[in-house]
Symmetry: C2
DNA sequence: TAGATTGTTAATCGATTAACAATC
DNA sequence: TAGATTGTTAATCGATTAACAATC
């Protein structure tokens, strides 16, 4: 019998929706809205109220009958579930355009992730100032990881370098890899990997466009 | 009764998997592998053979009993379904780091999408050379769209500018918007929108890390 | 109290997997 | 022909929606 010490049976589908709830709730918090019903939130997010109640119910009644949900509490709780309040440290490998975009945006800070340093192997980038950081040589990676113990490594290097760096990272005890290289990487049980396939997303869009065109071959007539 | 002119009932789940098939098949094509069975492909992609046969079956028998699938044909066919062979034109709005990363990579070209121009409203970026392009002022957008009739607009502008530019684009007859702003946009029936929420993907990763930690609070003992 | 709204159960719907006859 | 492997049907599994009693 497998271990049953925890009762975490929250379905994958629910988890996948939490970040979106989190975004909408953040928006509501920033507008000083104190409470919201499943019906109102459903309308806002374009989903069913039933789904919202079902989803939030998984984590045990935050709601209050006849009242709805306390926006701030709910925001905080979902953040806790997602690990937003853990102050994870991150390092970024690859200081090209994509790396710079990630480093200078609010994506990390806005989610409780603390970027510690940026690395590159390219001589022309090492020493460059990017946001509040100075790009470090990749040869410093090991020493810096020992010092910072980052939970997250962000891979914004060329596809060809992906596998090798991923292998290095496995030895450096990072807990998760956010992989933008386009090369799908895997890294054992211990390490979580989020493979971002931007190309796949573009293909989704192309499909939608293409499918629409197929259904309405010319734009004036439906028959 | 709704229109039944086509019989396209291919489930959303299947469509969502096609880009990944496409990537793996491209790899096989480039390795000059001529045929593959559902079983072999399943092993490679870490899915079930049954799912592969079910998925590919939707589009009507490419396979051949006792042989498998012809890699090149399958690659071509999936590309056709996804619209990879339509030579869609695209424009990119926002020439910051993210915009430059997208423009200088192989993401468009590798998927049959032809980038035509890059726009920005920032004086310091206008005129800058990015890859083979010169950044154009946003004021040229309308004229260029009239000329190029791009199917796709890529939004790599700050979040605050998202809504306004999306509204402009609706009037310019683009068929799809690839939205990196972080602001969820919607744009009527006519226009397909792919909202890329990089932050949500980071949150997924944080969740995975967090969930793993909860299940194994310390790394030496399982009980 | 009366009205509103949740939490939760049951029903429906869709997606995945298993199995095997058809067939190359 | 015999072996391999698909295409497809049926069974299972999971996710969504509907409904309503519980309760604030």
């Amino acid at each position: 019998m497998p271990n049953k010490t925890t009762t975490p049976k929250v379905s994958r589908a629910v988890i996948a929706r939490l970040p979106r709830y989190y975004r909408y709730l953040r928006e509501l918090v920033s507008k000083d809205i104190l409470r919201i019903s499943s019906g109102e939130l459903a309308k806002l997010m374009n989903v069913t109220a039933s789904q919202i109640r079902q989803d939030l119910g998984c984590f045990g009644g935050f709601g209050q009958q006849g009242y709805g949900y306390n926006v701030k509490d709910l925001y905080k709780t979902i953040g806790d579930i997602l690990g937003m309040n853990e102050s994870y440290s991150a390092i970024l490998i690859g200081a090209g355009h994509l790396g710079q975009a990630l480093a200078t945006g609010t994506i990390f800070g806005g989610r409780g992730v603390h970027l510690r340093g940026i690395f590159d192997s390219d001589e022309s980038l090492i020493g460059k100032e990017v946001g509040e950081f100075t790009v470090l040589p990749l040869s410093d990676l090991e020493a810096c990881c020992a010092k910072w113990e980052p939970a997250i490594a962000v891979l914004a290097v060329p596809r060809t370098a992906a596998k090798e760096i991923a292998a290095t990272l496995s030895t450096l005890k990072v807990k998760g890899i956010w992989n933008f290289t386009g090369e799908e990487i895997t890294a054992g049980e211990e390490i979580a990997v989020e493979n971002v396939q931007l190309g796949d997303l573009l293909m989704n869009l192309c499909y939608e466009i293409h499918a629409k065109e197929q259904n309405e071959p010319n734009e004036t007539n439906e028959n």
